[in-house]
């Protein structure tokens, strides 16, 4: 198969990561903390979606909405319980608290949810486009036939919908504009009359909603288990840092860079190195940070 097919695979992987990375980076930029427990927010969202889909039961799109609402509620409850009381202690205590909370949540989920993986019941349709001609560049076929599944289209579509909604929120609403103001300078935002605690709460809810959606999408593709979110936190964190600290647009860009590198490196690395595709993505992360410590989009977004 050609490069076009690999790009599609990369876009799908990037879409999962991007949705979660936006939530992660909003917390990163506005609440001033790295939330290592964010993977567990995804896991909780996946479990809420699964419960809705199997026990109530409701159709999968409704279950995803339930997971988003549930994710938002969980996020604000956890924030009020564990992070808001230490808001003023600085990033280190909050970081350590989030690590501890993540461990506690993961083990609590394992205790309550059980050891084994659970699965959403889905039907997948595959759409083939075999008539696309090959366009070779050396040993690489740039085009060629490809396929895309209904699951992949849903993931990409959901990501695009999230991007549009986030862009609209940040540029067209008072809450979004206040979030950007707080991200740039919290003291100045407070002087201008912005209720910073309300904005923090809004960010927690929004991050939880996105985690719920990302958790369900990941679970549909893989499974629901105590490690569903934790197994992806490395990629989410990397996307946020690669794109630029606190920048939702940068997180989207970083997520797709990582997704595409994962896909293309698996396809083109020597056979003995295909298991190292993640390492290639992180080498790129390190290289970008060395050249541009603020991340790919860090500076540009701060100026916007």
């Amino acid at each position: 198969m050609g490069l076009l097919q690999e790009i599609i695979f990369g876009l799908v992987t990037g879409s999962y990561i991007a949705i979660a990375a936006i939530g992660f980076t909003l917390i990163y930029g506005i609440v001033n903390m790295i939330n290592f427990a964010y993977g567990e927010y995804l896991t909780l969202g996946a479990f809420i979606g699964l419960v809705a889909a199997t026990m109530i039961p409701v159709p999968l799109p409704i279950a995803a909405l339930v997971a988003m609402v549930g994710g938002g509620v969980v996020s604000i409850v956890l924030a009020r319980g564990f992070f808001t009381p230490i808001n003023d202690t600085g990033p280190v205590p909050m970081l350590l608290t989030s690590i501890g909370l993540g461990i506690a949540l993961r083990n609590a989920i394992r205790l309550v949810g059980g050891r084994g993986a659970r699965y959403f019941e889905t039907e997948t349709a595959t759409f083939r486009f075999d008539a696309i001609p090959d366009v070779s560049l050396g040993p690489v076929d740039l085009l060629g036939g490809f396929f895309v599944t209904s699951e992949q289209l849903i993931v990409i579509g959901a990501a695009v919908a999230v991007f549009v909604a986030i862009h609209g929120l940040l540029t067209r609403t008072d809450v979004g504009i206040a979030m950007r103001a707080m991200g740039d300078d919290e003291s100045l935002a407070r002087v201008r009359g912005i209720d910073t605690q309300l904005i923090r709460d809004s960010v927690w809810v929004l991050a939880g909603v996105l985690a719920g959606l990302a958790g369900v999408l990941m679970a549909i593709q893989t499974n629901v288990s105590a490690d569903t979110g934790f197994s992806h936190i490395l990629q989410i964190l990397s996307a946020a840092i690669l794109g630029g600290a606190g920048s939702p647009y940068g997180a989207i860009l970083g997520a797709y860079v990582i997704g595409l590198v994962l896909a293309v490196s698996t396809a083109f690395l020597p056979s003995s190195m295909t298991g190292l595709s993640s390492a290639v993505a992180f080498v790129i992360l390190v290289a970008v940070l060395l050249v541009k410590p603020s991340g790919i989009a860090g500076k540009e977004v701060r100026e916007a």
């Binding site: 198969m1 499974n223 698996t266 595709s277």
Partner: protein, 446 residues
Amino acid sequence: MVSNTNNNTSRRAFLTAAGAGGIAGLSGCVSFGGGDGGDGGDGGSGSTDGGSAPDTIVFGQPGALTGAFDFLQPGVSQAADAAVQHINEAGGPLGAELELVRRDTAVDPQEARTVATQLVENDDAAAIVGLFSSEINPLWDFLQDLQTPIVTPWPGSTFLDTRGGDKGTPEDTSDDEWVWRTVVGDTVHTGGSAVYALEEGYESLGVINGNTEGERSYVDGFLSVFENNGGTVEERVEVELGASSYQSALSRLFDADFDAFLVSMPQESAITALSDWSDGGYGRQPILSDTLAQQEVIDQVGSDLNGAWVAQPGRSGPGYDTFEGIYTEAGDASINSWTPPSWDSVQVTALAIEHAGSTDPEAIQSSLGPVSRSGGTEVSTFAEGKEALANGEEINYQGAATPVDFTQHGNVFGTVTINTAQDGEFVATSEVSAADVREYVAEGEY
């Protein structure tokens, strides 16, 4: 305002550094929370080196209570518990109460190291009746230094083909290695699978496997027989486990031209990969590794999997019927390929203690060969063996999974069962005899 800007920059610099540090930390650890305590236990065994008999003898069982293989643990636990109950009802080894202390390793080598130490040092375990390939191989030197017999139902690794056992000299422990396994090694059942593939006319192969020791070992075992007997490997792709998609790896694999493809991954990752394979319509004959003969795999992947086969250690040891009768009364966990070997590991180790008349580790080690190899009265349970030993007879334990005739390297041979996915379930469709597989294994190399 200047101050604010500086603070902001510092904050961002810190966050970036902390994030990068976090990535390094996270990438270096499998899990922060893998240390579930398991059943614990109060130990309290005491051991004897030939003097007065202890009141309690402890066997330690490192287990996969969590982690990638936790779905196999219930059957293994139930078999071990049933064996312990049976042994105690028969009077116990040396008249002592046998106790099993089970602790979770989550199949994590570091956790396994801690658990093995706890079992020996804190629980006074006379022997260990667990540990996976992924744990034994990296901990090999540590386990030798532990100097406690490890009789495990789990590991298939080819690493153990020439490691372990008493080297055929039970009276001389100086050349011994402390690991024995009651499950047939990957060399045997992967060899059986390779033999079956060649017999079915599949002469070229694609391989997709996880990047852990267990998955690599399975594939290496398969390929050593497959390639030595005329088969060729056209493409091999190694993947990281737990990915959200394996489409890129599959796309690369299926660009090659081959007849069948071998999948060696833990269940959850394999379901993701096989679902991707089904969605992509890649086709061709799937051959699955031994842990994948699970109903969940068929349920999640669907009818495209029809015709896929799995070679598993057979369940046709001479003592299987005896085991099955006792096992089914002990609980409702389903029997998997590691369940009868779990029963065998407890039985043969208890018999070794009875034979040795001591819980001294060297004495147990020296007796594992004599109670299992041919020549004595054949027994299929501890009760029969205890009685025969009391009558002054030598014994030959006949196991549930295999005859448990330990080779010089502490390995066992047995039949290989071919299970094929048909109409929504795995069905035993063929069997490769131990003798057929043995032809492909060089003398002294297993």
